[in-house]
Assembly symmetry: C2
Homo-oligomer: 158 residues x 2
DNA sequence: TTTACTGCAAATATTTTGCAATATC
DNA sequence: GATATTGCAAAATATTTGCAGTAAA
């Protein structure tokens, strides 16, 4: 699907979710959704807030928090906590078929795709639990930090 | 392995880690490790701090934070962020072969085991990344919240 | 004896909340 | 017109940090 169509589609999804819950279609909600889908990468609330400001759209931090929660509820974005204290998010469209490699040294996050594993996880059923999605995090050391670690092991500890 | 032997084993592991890094073997570190392994369930730092107090062992919150970080570094405990702002931890012994079902409504967390999936994930290799462990979180609604949700959908939204 | 570690309190970071003003339905 | 939502600021929550005193090596 083309990016433009994706935006239309997710806006429509938000609209129908708001309808179904009797919530209001405020311009802020659609502006934030649009910004997130244009970004198309991980973000935290503060970064999103700043990007909105810079792009000339004035919203309060509280509204960004509220809206991000709302978008998580209707599964248009996915929440992550990669190990730092701050929550991270990403758009949900095409997001549920990848998982994340997290470097425990530099906190860098990269994405990995695996169709088979994804299908397996998507189709898994649980007792007394209605699954809507999953997050798989692989922890370890990235290329750069493995090298750093190796050279540190040669230094003397006192 | 029996619980007593597990405790001996992880204490020895901590000891050798501290040696290898030139860090000190303080009684606090071993007391905290012991408490965690005796608990044998998920915990957050504040709960652990309170349990230590109640059990009569006085440590500062700062030391609990420091020690928990240390234990994560040497892979004796595993860090989780289940979606709330607070980090959760659990002992690593026998912990890496299960994953978590998280109810997005009531935040309740339950454990699931799947040998095959675990083996698959443990043995997976990545390009330019040295994996040490993984966390798999399945999000959805638990039994109780599915029912609550169902009855709410029958109420009128205005 | 050296300095890593602890405890305490203050500082920081992130998120939530209360309330008056505003805008959607 | 009723009330959900916004913006702002203050509060709450979770974690980190600085520093003086203590204790491990």
């Amino acid at each position: 699907m083309e990016e433009n169509n994706i935006l239309e589609s997710v806006s429509a999804q938000l609209s129908s979710y708001l309808n179904s819950k009797g919530l209001r279609k405020t311009p802020e909600r659609f502006a934030i959704l649009e910004q997130i889908y244009n970004l198309n990468r991980h973000f935290d609330v503060d970064t999103l807030y700043e990007i909105m400001q810079e792009s000339g759209y004035r919203v309060s931090r509280a509204t960004v928090y509220n809206t991000v929660d709302l978008l998580v509820e209707c599964h248009l974005i996915v929440k992550h906590q990669f190990g730092t204290n701050m929550a991270h998010y990403e758009r949900a469209f095409n997001a549920d078929n990848h998982f994340h490699l997290i470097c425990t040294n530099c906190n860098n996050v990269t994405e990995v795709k695996d169709e088979d594993l994804n299908n397996q996880l998507q189709n898994k059923k649980y007792k007394d639990f209605d699954a809507t999605g999953y997050n798989l995090y692989i922890y370890g050391l990235c290329h750069k930090c493995v090298e750093k670690d190796r050279s540190n092991d040669n230094t003397i500890h006192n």
